[in-house]
Symmetry: C2
Subunit: 261 residues, 2 copies
């Protein structure tokens, strides 16, 4: 393992899990920056010898790699303000920002964990896929080796590919989460508990993820082309135009997919 | 436990699991009907003393409760052809058919397991919610007691409520499964493995099901109202109008839900 020390700009959910995992893997964390000192201190307190700071001037830092783990909208702004030691590597952890957002730094990279983190929730980071990208081969090798010290799944992913991954995640995660919420609303209006559906939801997701392709285990009225049921469902939803619209477009899309199976 | 014997009309996935679970709970299975004798025999072979049959004439049967577990479209047709002993109870196992589909039988009911079954896949039936409905109170009590012998979660659910449950399941299961398939397609077109997204999908579903409401754990560009990312995603999807349409309507729906949180 190449001995490089690291610092974190940000003390949110991603920094919280990554700083602790990297320290456990043997990397020394030098500084934790947050706009709010109590947040920086809370994370620094979890680490062996990290200094909390509110300053973006790291010119005297002993760290080599600086992780920006702040909300997407703030990455460019903070990267522009940062003062880093010479030869430092600046890395962001975002799924949706290109590498170029860090272009005013000579050595930079992306170290993107494809997972959702909460401070309150323990998580086995060794099972989180990491997507790595860098400005040059030496940086890339350094970041890949670092990721491999905490995770079993490390991929080289270009900014263009990362954008597509992000779009896929929007469909597979953000949109599915929303549909679960819609289902809860539909049941709730009739006084039915969402709990009733949970075993079926768990089994459906498990089957979909174990299948060669989720389309191969598709079920339901759209898949069976059961027009009578579809019409009855749409009639029932007619006073909820947003839900009816979703029902219609996804039913059409399932039929369209079925035709091409 | 009231001693009633049972028979199954149908030898598919639902009959397969339910006949074995009910026999294990102490109910004797008398006959297994299937249009295809080898299917009836395959299930009967799993049971202690059940006779496979291709005849719908059960007038001499010792069974009291007859479960119709065949595809939805065939239930009414088979119910009309059946010859049952006097005082027999006819029960269907469908989520989308009303009780009235069995109305030419005096005593009838619904015994609907809210789960997806495959013969190949073991499943803990004690965790499957059962939805019970019946023409009269005595039948209802009999069916509830029977369901409670195999499952920890038994609900009385009217036909109107069951229809709403089914609509909820279409959103929460059929549609989410489809979105997982769409995500796999999007990644596949760029040569990216769907496996990359699986840990995030699992964590997302777990969070959604453990939350007080899935809307409370919604993330993503639509939730953050990140118009720049949304526009970039839609531009990327513009050559796939079905996917772009889904992206648009679900993004709008998330924004709409957020406003009402």
């Amino acid at each position: 393992m190449i001995q490089v020390d690291i610092s974190f700009i940000g003390a949110g959910n991603v920094a919280w899990h990554m700083a602790q995992a990297l320290e456990e893997a043997g990397y020394q964390v030098r500084e934790i920056y947050s706009r709010t000192l109590t947040n920086a201190t809370a994370l620094a307190d979890k680490l062996y010898n990290a200094a909390p700071t509110q300053s973006l001037d790291f010119s005297a830092s002993k760290a080599t790699i600086f992780f920006i783990a702040v909300p997407d909208g703030q990455v460019a702004k903070i990267a522009a303000k940062l003062r880093l030691p010479e030869e430092a590597i600046l890395v962001h952890t975002s799924g949706s920002l290109p590498l170029e957002v860090l272009q005013n730094h000579t050595y930079s990279g992306v170290f993107y964990p494809l997972q959702t983190f909460s401070k309150q929730k323990e998580l086995d980071i060794s099972r989180v896929p990491f997507c790595i990208e860098a400005t040059d081969e030496a940086t890339e090798q350094l970041l890949v080796s670092m990721a491999q010290h905490i995770s079993n799944t490390v991929y080289l992913v270009s900014s263009a590919e990362r954008k597509v991954l992000h779009i896929g995640a929007v469909f597979a995660c953000n949109f599915t989460n929303h549909l679960l919420g819609v289902a809860k609303e539909i049941l709730g209006r009739e006084g039915l508990e969402f709990d009733l559906l949970k075993p079926l939801i768990r089994e459906t997701i498990q089957k979909a993820l174990n299948a060669e392709h989720p389309a191969f285990v598709q079920t339901g009225p759209a898949m069976r082309n059961d027009q009578q049921i579809i019409d009855a469902h749409r009639a029932y939803l007619s006073t909820y135009p947003v839900e009816e619209g979703i029902y219609h477009i996804l039913t059409e899309s399932i039929a369209h997919t079925k035709k091409n199976l």
